[in-house]
Symmetry: C2
Subunit: 316 residues, 2 copies
């Protein structure tokens, strides 16, 4: 992500410390969160200091490196942070193998992250195919550099289109309860990419009125049957896109694919604290006594997905 | 609405003053806003101190009574407050006629409001038909007492079902940007009706998972062709209900029907200040420099509507 014109990654490792752009503080404040132990990495993942499937995987890879002297204990702590994103489990397994094979753990984590960044870059190239000049793209949540260390998944083709002068425009749905849309708006703003924020409930009518050329989102897990598990609200956009003849694309690297699970409904869906819904920031907005449900992800059945943009091309 | 067990209306007129429960302060604080002149009523409508089509109509009726000595000036000021809700225009025309016919303006406004309340009560009776025991109903925005002076439109059958021991359960979608879902949760909480709050983006997946028996919402305007204009996010719920075989009902009194406009797309849709999206309460959540679009309503084409519950029965 560009910060005042300078390229910065969502996280990086130096001198035994994992440094993470604190996503709970953005867009208000730019703060770097430092993890000196694997337990701090686990806390950062659970607390959403780092979020977005691929970025969680990258943080976990360094977490494994930091706790490599006792890999079983470390992997178990990291796996128990968040249940839905496939990248987390992919990264931990990757590191377990590397450690077992006697490789240098930090170097293995570096390789993991460089490969991820390279995949995201290639997603940009492959995704360019679905974008024309002045495309009006709707996205959800944040599938940008912050969610993937660099380039992003859904935002990668948009960045490339922008750099080629294709002048993309992005509808950013705010993505309650955690408002990750504001992270997307922040990333786009840093690079001068044209965008407007909308509430989640306005997405459908914009499609109905012909204001959206395509929907482009990331994923937390894609099953072998092609179901897409992603931030809650994604399924709604997929159905509304389908109903309005708007293509619905998902962008994800190999590490997001789960070959062992066929159906989205078999993926564990994280339910987070109801306070995320009952409060906005520190302010309670709900009446006293009211309770909330807070499923963090939803399932988009494969039939609504026009294609998945990966590092190897567009599938389906 | 019940407040600590006592019945209170959303607005009432006494000693030349219109008193309105200030909906911008709820659910945090219960405050009564007093209007001594028709201009204060116009300000209260524009600022959403009173909101909800039928309640806006009721406030406007008293506003007309308060400015009855110069009906043209008064009606013009009131009509210019908000463009979408039909009830506003219906109420102003009703009062113009009454004033022209030499009727007592306050008595005419009283009659208007009593007729409205009676309609809402009958909507409750008629709507009971679509509710069974333990129905799981999803609603959007606030179509309760606050939006209609008493009983509500969508909430009227739910209240009646509750009083008959049918134990309804309500999914309350929070309804960004103004979070009117919290008003609904507040009303339900005051009467001990079981409910849970969700973010707007979670509505669809709950339907997909079979957690919703029917959707029941109010309306700001219903065209002669049967299109429903209501709070932004309604169209999304209608499409998702349709896709998942969930009945989608709209509840509205006669004053919400616009016989002169055939298509929803011909209804003027209010766009409100982008700050409602960029801020939550007084806190800016969007990054500096980012802009927002803030359409206040959307259009649900007639084909997605299972039926409209009115004071005379269920149409379609």
């Amino acid at each position: 992500v560009k910060i005042n014109g300078k390229d910065v990654r969502a996280l990086w490792f130096s001198n035994g410390t994992l440094k993470i752009i604190d996503q709970t503080k953005l867009p208000k404040r730019f703060k770097v969160y430092e993890c000196k132990k694997y337990r701090a990495v686990a806390r950062a993942i659970r607390g959403m200091v780092v979020r977005g499937g691929p970025a969680i995987g990258a943080a976990a890879a360094y977490g494994m490196a930091m706790g490599a002297e006792r890999p079983k204990r470390t992997s178990s702590a990291l796996r128990n942070t968040r249940p839905t994103a496939r990248d987390l489990f992919y990264a931990v397994s990757y590191m377990e193998e590397a450690i077992e094979e006697g490789k240098n753990p930090v170097e293995a984590a570096d390789r993991y992250v460089e490969a991820l960044i390279d995949r995201c870059k290639r997603i940009g190239v492959n995704g360019l195919e679905v974008l024309g000049p002045h495309s009006k793209i709707m996205t959800h949540c944040n599938a940008g550099s912050l969610a993937t260390v660099d380039y992003g998944t859904a935002l990668s083709p948009i960045r490339l289109a922008h750099s080629k002068g294709l002048e993309p425009f992005v509808w950013v749905s705010e993505t309650r309860p955690r408002l990750q849309g504001m992270l997307t708006a922040w990333e786009l703003g840093q690079e001068g990419i044209s965008h407007q924020i909308i509430v989640d409930g306005a997405s459908g009518d914009l499609m109905r009125r012909g204001e959206v050329d395509l929907v482009l989102v990331g994923a937390d897990r894609i099953t072998s049957g092609g179901d897409v598990v992603n931030k809650v609200g994604t399924y709604e956009k997929a159905v509304l896109a389908h109903e309005n003849g708007v293509p619905f694309y998902v962008a994800a690297p190999k590490s997001t694919f789960d070959p062992e699970t066929e159906r989205g409904d078999d993926v564990p869906i994280e339910e987070r604290d109801e306070k995320e819904v009952l409060f906005v920031g520190k302010r309670r907005v709900a009446p006293k006594g009211s309770r909330a449900r807070n499923p963090c992800f939803d399932v988009t059945p494969a039939r609504y997905v026009s294609g998945v943009i990966t590092e190897d091309g567009i599938t389906q």
